[in-house]
Symmetry: C2
Subunit: 460 residues, 2 copies
């Protein structure tokens, strides 16, 4: 790979220029007036891929593009990324025009989509470019799945993946997604787990319409009072879930897993800086990250139907819906979680002896995901990190979910590796989103080396 | 008063026509585009009062009009009403045009402002009209204070009342306000008490900005969890205030007061009908009305800063403000109530051992009001009810507040009587607001007789 690295180093300004070109396309999927830009971005990729010799397939319900260069070498690797971005306006507080990639004196490439996810998508294309320019044999069969609606809920994508599992994606040996971030700012990560989430609505209903608290206060069972008492039975102020049976489902921590928490690029200061406050529950890194990654949590998000505006209103709301969610981890099962939550709330509501009525509903459940970091797909990733960055990667999980991960795993029954390019402070979705020049350039090397390591592992 | 009654009976259609005329003026004080209509309504009253021989004074900061016919007979009675109305659109669900007074087959006079408060305001003018037409001596000196901004917070009125206490209102012997409703549908009421209200904001602050529950759930003290636990320590589901010391301030029930609860036109069915549900806390009329009128209550209105829309959002709100209020009764003192609430919440928050911060603020406090129903002003009212309706009135309180009542009492140091014209089912502020023809016509007789009874009592 030395020739590859030298070429990347020599052409890094061209590569940054190319990133600038794609950042300038305002592919904001959530803004209908910019939908043409999303298509424009898709067309740009399409053109670029054809130029690189890829055979592509544009799939309705969003654009999906892929490459199968016809090289006969195993393995077949499917990579996923997205080319749409979050909305961004200079007025939001950006220091520079969000759609003009601007490099500052610290070599931060600032622009919407730089790190999420145009940098990584472009990275895959540039890997091909470099191999072609060097007239080197491409190390794997590469299938690319790039989406233009990720920031708008990826509507339609699951259907496409399931449909193409036996079509365009047939024969895939492993999957790689570069759409998350390093745990730290300088040390690369491989990500092997994600929490799931079960979202609940609990509704208490009383009178037929809102009441005036002057006329009715003290004489009726108020739905809001009941709901507050119910929500108070869900989680303690130090984050312990109070629903009986939930914690029994959590997979125990293995010794191997436990040791993976040593040496991570993370400190309590990093956390407090992100919070802008020292209101962390746990006092050390290991407990904190375990509670972010591999233990469940319960958050109360808000109440629908009650008074929420500034000012004062003396209303007794007639019907209020509490919204809360549980972040789930292996081996929690969504159906079982729902059953325990419903049982617990119904039993607590009975104790209130209220004449109001209650209903509880799980309105959405995504399963947790956890892969084996000893799989050959991860071994290739680790070796690539070691070659390019001269250090072992942090083995991380994420507390949130990236639903497409499970969709690929379930549809293709193959191992999925999350191989991030950006750093923890890139500020995806925020103002002044950036990708460090180092992350972009070394990241291209990382993606290329990962493919080469896959070739070597499969050749063994 | 027989001549008076006969005249009223004979001219009742003319009087309804006049009510129709004023309902047609869209004096919605909260709608700036209709502010001219409020002035038009004020001008209508002004013209009508001058026609009736009144000397008037229009006061800046809203219109205020009065009459002092120069008759030398004591007493001097100040009456208050308002000529602005709540907004109303046919599309809101009205069966008829809200600004066209329409009489249905049950003799309900349907229209915005019919009962709140154009009917009563017109009632006072028609009393004068009748006395003049009959060339009878007017029984009292009448000062009228009619306001055009009541439905928009009566801004500026307190200043006017305090300023005119020694001016236009000087020499007032008693005050009468006709701007509330009978307890029942058929039996008149005299109202002698109102609850006060102390409104609180309790704010819990954590991180500098909202957090994603995937990334931070389980690792930080969530402000929403803390707030829910705090709000759960304020009131039990059967309406008992959990703030220590509050109930010690409540004036004991006297025997005379207790007996006034017998024979009231109110039933649990009435309550359940109003609620559209059987979620009442108490099982009988007396307990229910005591808890509406003479015991404090605490209602939780909502939360500012949390998620409140339909749908799902996995946010950990950074700063949340709970809104609740306590309806207060004699002898509760607002400052003392605030002190007890703050102490209680701070002590409960300490128990939570949270690293977030809390602040509690009383953002508004109106005192409760309770008058003696044995005062000669009330005796005149009672006698008038007995003459016109052949029955004794219900002695009632209201659970809500009518702030102008205390303003008059404090500024003039005189007894205030609340003498309602409309019935409990009139639906002020609602669609299809109505005033029964009986309430309007017998109401005019009631107001005239009340003035005549005052004359007799003062002559004794």
């Amino acid at each position: 790979m030395d020739l590859f690295y030298a070429y990347v180093n020599k052409h890094q300004d061209d590569f940054v220029q190319k990133l600038k070109e794609v950042v300038a396309i305002k592919s904001v999927s959530s803004d209908p007036s910019l939908r043409d830009e999303v298509f424009k971005m898709g067309a740009w990729l399409h053109r670029e891929m054809e130029r690189l010799g890829a055979s592509t397939k544009i799939v309705e319900l969003g654009l999906q593009e892929g490459e199968n260069p016809g090289l006969k070498l195993p393995p077949v690797i499917l990579v996923y990324g997205h080319y749409d971005v979050q909305p961004a306006l200079k007025e939001d507080g950006w220091n520079t025009d969000p759609f003009v990639l601007t490099e500052d004196s610290s070599h931060r490439l600032i622009g919407r989509g730089s790190t999420d996810d145009k940098g990584p998508v472009l990275g895959w294309l540039l890997v091909i470019e470099v191999f072609r320019q060097l007239e080197l044999e491409f190390p794997v069969n590469l299938i690319m799945c790039f989406e233009g609606m990720e920031e708008s809920g990826s509507e339609g994508l699951d259907d496409v993946i399931n449909r193409e599992a036996e079509g365009f994606f047939k024969g895939t040996d492993a999957v790689c997604i570069s759409d998350n971030y390093w745990l730290g700012k300088t040390k690369p990560s491989l990500t092997y787990g994600l929490r799931g989430v079960s979202y609940f609505h609990v509704t208490v209903k009383g009178p037929k319409a809102d009441l005036h608290s002057g006329v009715f206060g003290g004489t009726v069972h108020e739905p809001m009072t009941d709901l507050i008492h119910i929500l108070g039975k869900l989680v303690s102020c130090d984050g312990k879930i109070m629903v009986p049976g939930i914690m029994n489902q959590v997979a125990p921590v293995t010794e191997e897993e436990e040791s993976s928490y040593n040496g991570l690029e993370f400190s309590m200061d990093t956390l407090h800086e992100a919070l802008g406050a020292k209101n962390s529950i746990h006092s050390n890194v290991k407990d904190t990250l375990m509670h972010r990654w591999r233990f469940p949590s319960l958050s109360i998000h808000g109440i629908e139907g009650a008074f929420y505006s500034p000012g004062e209103k003396t209303v007794i709301p007639a019907k209020v819906t509490g919204k809360f969610s549980i972040r789930t981890v292996p081996d929690m099962d969504p159906d079982n979680v729902t059953q325990l939550v419903v049982q617990h709330i119904e039993s607590e509501f009975t104790k209130l002896k209220s004449k109001n009525t209650i209903s509880i509903k799980c309105v959405g459940a995504g399963k947790p995901w956890c892969s084996s970091f000893n799989h050959w797909n991860f071994v290739a990733g680790r070796k690539a990190v070691e070659k390019v960055f001269n250090q072992s990667p942090d083995l991380t999980r994420e507390g949130g979910s990236i639903p497409v991960t499970l969709t690929f795993e379930n549809a293709l029954k193959k191992n999925v590796l999350l191989l991030p390019m950006g750093a923890c402070d890139d500020g995806a979705h925020s103002i002044n989103e950036k990708l460090d020049r180092r992350n972009f350039i070394e990241g291209i090397k990382l993606l290329g080396t990962y493919l080469d390591e896959l070739r070597q592992i499969q050749a063994e």
